[in-house]
């Protein structure tokens, strides 16, 4: 899987535009940081699983936008051979966290396997924007923002 394939697949899985996930001139380089997790040896990703996910994505990536979510649902989410890896990519973007592929995603295991990818990956997790919130101890809001009603992102 290439970085471009990872970003376009991630856009389909998260619902965020690729340009949001990997903006031009990106100081934080979150997409590169998360993509590196797919080749991290300690993550124990079966090569065949990653190859299959890549192939499936390439086979449906040109699907017209209105039909793309359904194609992703059938070809990836309901495909037991690769759905877990696809879920992990969603977790990466939303939580900045990698979970052990071999175990139940709802149970935390060893921090050597289940881990926060990096401080920036964590603070840039999409979940914070979804909630109209920010990670504990870190905010880019203007002073006094806490007195305002949270705003939620507009996602098409």
């Amino acid at each position: 899987m290439t970085l471009d394939e990872f970003v376009s697949l991630s856009a389909a899985l998260t619902g965020y535009p690729a340009a949001t996930l990997k903006p031009q001139n990106d100081p934080q380089q979150i997409s590169e940081t998360l993509f590196a997790e797919l080749s991290l040896a300690s993550n124990n990703i079966p090569a065949a699983q990653l190859d299959e996910l890549t192939q499936v994505w390439n086979s449906i990536s040109a699907t017209p936008p209105p039909s793309l979510p359904a194609a992703v649902q059938v070809k990836i989410i309901e495909n037991l051979a690769i759905t877990r890896l696809a879920q992990n990519i969603i977790y990466l973007w939303f939580f900045g966290t990698w979970y052990d592929l071999a175990k139940n995603p709802n149970s935390f295991t060893s921090p050597n396997i289940d881990h926060v990818v990096s401080p920036l990956a964590y603070t840039n997790g999409l979940v914070w924007g979804e909630m109209g919130a920010h990670p504990m101890g870190y905010s880019v809001g203007e002073y006094g923002y806490w007195a305002n009603i949270p705003t939620l992102p507009q996602i098409n």
Partner: protein, 443 residues
């Protein structure tokens, strides 16, 4: 023979100018003159210019690359600004022509000349009266104050190899001063009565207007082991205000101090979160793990090891006690290679003016700016982290098992930190902590 030498010198200048210009191309709508102007002192010609840039001049839209060409544009802006405000204040020749020179920025208003202890209005802008002699003082009794000896933040003062505390000062240009003066933001009552958003003037290439500029200088008291020919130096009053809780009595003395660190913050149209340029004297500290054995550093002892690396001195702190344990400082993030190349090219120009120019011993550490100014309040700064070894000494990041670790909200970021600045009315103060140093009006 002399004519041949002069021609050779001019050819060298032309080559350097062409080199810089080729790497900083763009729509030349602004006031960035380093690459094109020729200042004529009557004695020395140089491509360096006393003219401040209004704003950064970027590569044509859509063609710039963040890490290279766009960074280069901002770095050129930083050097243009540095050269212009370190230009001789009295119009005597060009920068460094006589080795060292009193600078333009030293005639600007110091923070203590604007925010008076009694909260009264400051004296009118008059460069002939300002900055007569630097008064380097511990103005804040709490570490939260961003002035005086506590600039390296909550973690403590910076102590040089001679056991002397560093000193700091802050100055502002006329545009910034006028905004504070006009809106009566120089005391607490004025800020509380001010109901608009604090928005300092922006430099603008199209309108050809200058924005607010604030500078923060870091000085070391020159002493044993310091090669004074490598510093911009001034004779200053070293003032230690009384701090009874620590048994510190009020005292003052005069000493020669050398410039070791320098921040320039400039508010512009392209960068409303300000452009943050930071410079250092080249002998300050080695890159982490790359100390040169036996070399004299201002803040690193090659024989001491790294056990106390980038750790603040133990309490209690008292700048009045000589011979204290020195800080052991290394730079955790190396200077970018492109920035270093620009440093080299500027240094060559400075050496060509005068081989003994003190300004050749200053290097740009980096420039931080908001890449997407409207995306969030901080505008997505790049580089994400940036630190001056003398000003953010202990916030550069951490070394964990030999690996450098950076933490959002903890590791130094100019924009990230200044985003939290407020007025005495509890409203954002447009990325400057200066307003919070205002005092109550005493009638």
């Amino acid at each position: 023979m002399r004519k041949t030498k002069t021609i050779a010198l001019l050819i060298a200048f032309a080559a350097i100018v062409a080199y810089i210009g080729s790497a900083s191309c763009g729509n030349n709508t602004g006031g960035s003159k380093t690459n094109v102007a020729v200042a004529d002192s009557g004695q020395v010609k140089t491509p360096l210019s006393p003219v401040l840039p209004f704003d950064v001049t970027l590569p044509p839209k859509g063609t710039g690359v963040l890490e290279t060409t766009i960074r280069r544009s901002f770095d050129v802006f930083s050097w243009d600004s540095f050269i212009a405000i370190c230009w001789p204040a009295q119009g005597h020749g060009v920068i460094g022509q006589f080795g060292d020179n009193p600078t333009v920025w030293e005639t600007w208003k110091k923070n203590y000349e604007v925010f008076l202890d009694n909260g009264l209005p400051p004296a009118p802008w008059d460069t002939a009266l300002q900055g007569k002699e630097a008064n380097l003082s511990q103005t804040g009794k709490t570490p939260a104050n961003m002035t005086a000896i506590f600039q390296p933040f909550l973690t403590g003062p910076l102590i040089d190899q001679n056991g002397q505390y560093n000193r700091f000062e802050i100055a502002m240009n006329k545009e910034m001063f006028d905004y504070i003066d006009t809106h009566k933001l120089y005391n607490i009552q004025g800020q509380q009565a001010f109901t608009d958003s604090v928005l300092f003037p922006q430099g603008d290439n199209t309108k050809k207007t200058y924005g607010a500029i604030m500078v923060k200088a870091s000085w070391k008291i020159l002493g044993k082991g310091d090669d004074t020919s490598r510093f911009h130096k001034v004779k200053a009053i070293i003032h230690i205000p009384a701090l009874p809780s620590r048994g510190i009595r009020d005292s003052s003395y005069e000493a020669w101090v050398g410039l070791v660190g320098f921040h320039i913050g400039t508010r512009t149209t392209i960068s409303p979160q300000w452009i943050w340029s930071t410079f250092e004297q080249v002998d300050n500290a080695p890159d982490y793990g790359k100390a040169v054995s036996g070399k004299h550093y201002n803040y690193y002892n090659t024989a001491a090891g790294d056990k106390a690396l980038n750790k603040a001195p133990a309490q209690p702190w008292n700048p009045g006690i000589p011979g204290q344990i020195s800080s052991q400082v290394a730079r955790l993030t190396p200077i970018d290679t492109g920035t270093n190349a620009l440093n080299d090219s500027i240094h060559k120009i400075l050496v060509a003016i005068n081989p003994h120019s003190v300004w050749q011993y200053y290097e740009l550490i980096g420039t931080q700016w908001p890449v997407h100014p409207t995306q969030s309040n901080t505008g997505d700064p790049f580089p994400v982290y940036m630190a001056n070894a003398t000003l953010e000494t202990y916030d550069q990041g951490s070394v964990v098992n030999g690996k450098i670790v950076y933490s959002p909200g903890v590791t130094s970021s100019c924009i990230g930190c200044h985003n939290a600045s407020v007025t005495w009315a509890g409203r954002p103060s447009d990325f400057t902590y200066l307003l919070k140093t205002a005092k109550s009006l005493k009638k």
